[in-house]
C-alpha cells in the first residue's frame, strides 16, 4: 500500500525537518488540514471553484493521430485547459480556502516556470489576499510572460538571487520569508515537496486528476484502469495527482518523466532518480542531487518547472519500491516532442509536459494498451523558448 504514516513518511521518505521557528505553522496545518478538508463547507467551496472557476472536469481526449503514430490508444488528460493553463491551480484553489479557514491574511509562494506563481496570484486576486511570489532571477528571464501575468493580477514578484537562481533558490527564499512572518502568512507550496503535511495535502488537492480519469475512462473504454499513465515530474504534483487513485492498483503502470537536461552524464541535468541519493531538502527526506559532501547540486533543465534537484518524497518512495518507472528525457527530445504534439494534435504543450510526451519513445507497450498522458500545461508561457530553440 502506498500510504503516508502518522509521522509523515512514505516508506523511508518524507517527514518534517524544519527550523523550530516554523514549528507552530506546520503543526497548525498538520493538526487541521485533514479535518478542514473533510468538512462539507470546504468540499462545497473547493468543488464549486474547481467546476466554475477552473473549468473542471478537464476533458480526457482521445488523441487519434498520436495513437496511430505510436501504435497504442493514447488519451490526453487536458490539464492545459484549466484556467491559468496548468494543473497548478487545482492546488492553489484548495490551499487558498485552507488559508482562509486558518485565518491567514497574506500568501507567499515560490515558482519555477511561473505557472504556480500565476495560479497563486490568481486565487489571491479571487479572494482579495495579499500575495508575494519568489522566483529565481534566471526564471524571471526565461518565463517573462508569466511574470507580467502575476503583476497584472496584483502580486508582488521578488527575485531570488542566490545559488542557481532557479526554483530551489526561490523555495529557500519563500521559506525564509515564512520564518520572518509566521503568524499571519500562509505559504502555498506548489508541488508535493516540503515538510509534512504539504506533500500529502498537495497530492490530495491534485488527486482530482485521477478521480476524473477513472470515470472518464470508464465512459470511453468501459474500464477505469488504463494500462499506463505517464506524467512529467518536477517536484511531482501533476504526477501525484494523475497517479493518486492508481497507487494501489498494481496492473496500472505508472511512468514518471524526469528532465535529463543536456544528458544524465553531462553535469547539466535534473534527473533526480538517476543522479540523486537520499538526503534532506526543503524540509523532507527524499532523493536529491548532491555532492558527496552533502551540498545540493545545481540542476539544469530547459524547462523551468522541472529544474529542481529533488523530487517529492512520495515519488522517491515509488521509485524505491519499484512501483513507478522513471525515464529521463533530454532537452532536445522534449523540444521535438513539443513540436510533434503541436503538429499531430493541434496542442502546443508546456515544455515540462513535452517531457511526458517523449516518454512514449522510452517505454514498452503493445498496440492494444490504453495510455493516459497527463497533459499538465499549455505552451503559451514557453513561446520564447520555442522561438529561441527554433527547430521547427
Amino acid at each position: 500500500m502506498i500510504k503516508i504514516d502518522e509521522k509523515g513518511f512514505y516508506g523511508k521518505f518524507g517527514g518534517a525537518y524544519i527550523p523550530e521557528m516554523l514549528h507552530p505553522n506546520i503543526e497548525e496545518l498538520r493538526e487541521n488540514y485533514e479535518q478542514i478538508m473533510a468538512t462539507p463547507e470546504f468540499q462545497k467551496e473547493f468543488r464549486g471553484l474547481l467546476k466554475d472557476f477552473v473549468g473542471r472536469p478537464t476533458p480526457l481526449y482521445f488523441a487519434s493521430r498520436l495513437s496511430e503514430k505510436y501504435g497504442a490508444k493514447i488519451y490526453l488528460k487536458r490539464e492545459d485547459l484549466c484556467h491559468t493553463g496548468a494543473h497548478k491551480v487545482n492546488n492553489t484553489v484548495g490551499q487558498i480556502i485552507m488559508a482562509k479557514k486558518l485565518g491567514k491574511k497574506r500568501i507567499i509562494a515560490e515558482t519555477g516556470a511561473g505557472q504556480h506563481g500565476v495560479a497563486t496570484a490568481t486565487v489571491c486576486a479571487l479572494m482579495g489576499m495579499d500575495c508575494t511570489i519568489y522566483m529565481g532571477a534566471v526564471d524571471i528571464q526565461r518565463q517573462r510572460p508569466n511574470v507580467e501575468r502575476m503583476k497584472i493580477l496584483g502580486a508582488k514578484v521578488v527575485p531570488a538571487t542566490s545559488g542557481s537562481q532557479t526554483l530551489k533558490d526561490a523555495t529557500n527564499e519563500a521559506m525564509r520569508q515564512w520564518i520572518n512572518n509566521p503568524v499571519d502568512t500562509h505559504y502555498i507550496i506548489g508541488s508535493v515537496v516540503g515538510p509534512h503535511p504539504y506533500p500529502e495535502m498537495v497530492a490530495r488537492f491534485q488527486s482530482v486528476i485521477s478521480e476524473e480519469i477513472k470515470w472518464q475512462l470508464k465512459e470511453k473504454e468501459g474500464t477505469e484502469n488504463p494500462d499506463i499513465i505517464i506524467a512529467c515530474v518536477g517536484g511531482g504534483s501533476n504526477a501525484a495527482g494523475a497517479f493518486f487513485h492508481y497507487y494501489n492498483v498494481p496492473q496500472v503502470r505508472l511512468v514518471a518523466a524526469e528532465a535529463a537536461g543536456l544528458g544524465v552524464t553531462s553535469g547539466k541535468s535534473a534527473a533526480t532518480t538517476v543522479l540523486g541519493t537520499s538526503g534532506i531538502l526543503h524540509g523532507s527526506k527524499t532523493l536529491l542531487m548532491q555532492t558527496e559532501d552533502g551540498q545540493v547540486v545545481e540542476p539544469h533543465s530547459i524547462s523551468a518547472g522541472l529544474d529542481y534537484p529533488g523530487i517529492g518524497p512520495v515519488h522517491a518512495h515509488l521509485f524505491d519500491i519499484g512501483r513507478a518507472e522513471f525515464v529521463a528525457v533530454e532537452d532536445e527530445d522534449a523540444m521535438k516532442a513539443g513540436i510533434e504534439l503541436s503538429r499531430t494534435e493541434g496542442i502546443i504543450p508546456a515544455i515540462e509536459t513535452a517531457h511526458a510526451i517523449h516518454a512514449l519513445n522510452l517505454i514498452e507497450y503493445s498496440k492494444d494498451d490504453i495510455i493516459v498522458i497527463n497533459l499538465s500545461g499549455r505552451g503559451d508561457k514557453d513561446l520564447d523558448t520555442y522561438i529561441k530553440w527554433g527547430g521547427y
Partner: protein
C-alpha cells in the same frame, strides 16, 4: 577517555559564569579557507566565551543574506565537513573555549551521524546546533548518539513557541537554549524592541533548567547588554561576519570588535 576526567566545557562555563556570556558565530572557510583556527584563537583571546563554528551549506534556509553569502564563499573556497575536521584536528592545543558546531542536517547525514559525533568528541567539540533538526526527530533518531559522544544539543525557541513546547524543549535540551530574539532569519533585524523584551521576560519567568542565550539581532555593546539582562548572554553572528568580511588583519579586527561589545 577524556570524558571521565573533564566535564563538558559548556557545562563548565555555565557553572561558573551565569551572565554576559558571549557566543560568537562564524562560518568555517570564510573569508579564506584557512582562516578557521586564526579566527577561533582571536575570539578566545578577545574574551568571548563560546565559539560557534558554522559548517557551510548550499541551502541555509534559516539564514539571511549575510550568512548565506559567507556560506557560499566558504563552499567556493573549497570548505567541506572533512576539510573542517582536518583543520580542527589539533584545535585543543590552542583553543580552550567551548566549541559548538552549527550546521544543517544534510551534510552531516551524508558524513554519517555516528561518525560525525565520534569525530566531534575526538577533536574536542562540545555541542551542536542543527537548526533543521526538529525535536521529535532528535529524540527518535539521534539523542542516543549525541549522548554517547557527550555532545550537548541546543534547540531554538522563538516568540511563537508555546509555553508547553518551551517546557518540552527545556526537558530535552542540555547545554543551553538558543532564544531567537526577533521572529526572523539571521541578520534580518537589528536592535531589540519592547515586544521582544516582553518575550524575554516571559521566558525568564519560566525558570528553565537550561541557560538561555539570545540570538539574532545582536551587534554591539548596547544590544549585548540589553540581551544579557534577560538571558545568560547572547550570540552574535551576522554582525561578526560583516566585520571580518573585509578585514585585512583578522586578529586585531576581531579583538577590537569583541572588546567593544563586551565593554
Amino acid at each position: 577517555m577524556s570524558q571521565v576526567l573533564t566535564m563538558n566545557r559548556i557545562d563548565n562555563l555555565f557553572q561558573t559564569k551565569k551572565e554576559r556570556v558571549l557566543s560568537i558565530y562564524f562560518t568555517a572557510g570564510f573569508p579564506k579557507l584557512e582562516d578557521t583556527l586564526t579566527i577561533m584563537q582571536a575570539i578566545e583571546s578577545a574574551g568571548a566565551n563560546i565559539i560557534e563554528v558554522g559548517v557551510p551549506y548550499s541551502d541555509p534556509i534559516a539564514d539571511g543574506p549575510t550568512i548565506q553569502d559567507s556560506n557560499q564563499i566558504a563552499l567556493d573556497n573549497g570548505m567541506s565537513l572533512k576539510r573542517l575536521f582536518e583543520q580542527l584536528q589539533d584545535m585543543r592545543q590552542t583553543v580552550s573555549l567551548p566549541v559548538v558546531l552549527m550546521g544543517y542536517l544534510n551534510p552531516i547525514i551524508q558524513y554519517g551521524m555516528e561518525a560525525f559525533c565520534k569525530k566531534c568528541q575526538e577533536i574536542g567539540v562540545d555541542g551542536l546546533i542543527l537548526p533543521d533538526l526538529p525535536m521529535q526527530q532528535y529524540l527518535d533518531e539521534f539523542k542516543e548518539v549525541f549522548d554517547k559522544y557527550d555532545l550537548r544539543n541546543t534547540f531554538l525557541i522563538s516568540p511563537q513557541t508555546s509555553e508547553k513546547r518551551i517546557r518540552e524543549i527545556d526537558t530535552h535540551s542540555n547545554g543551553f537554549i538558543y532564544m531567537v530574539s526577533a521572529h526572523s532569519i539571521t541578520g534580518a533585524r537589528t536592535g531589540i524592541s519592547e515586544e521582544q523584551i516582553a518575550y524575554f521576560q516571559r521566558v525568564e519567568a519560566m525558570n528553565l533548567k537550561n541557560p538561555r542565550l539570545i540570538g539574532f539581532g545582536i551587534s554591539d555593546s548596547e544590544t549585548f547588554t540589553t540581551a544579557s539582562k534577560y538571558g545568560n548572554g547572547a550570540i552574535i553572528g551576522s554582525a561578526f561576519i560583516k566585520k571580518i568580511k573585509e578585514s585585512q588583519d583578522l586578529k586585531s579586527d576581531i579583538e577590537s570588535y569583541i572588546q567593544s561589545v563586551i565593554h
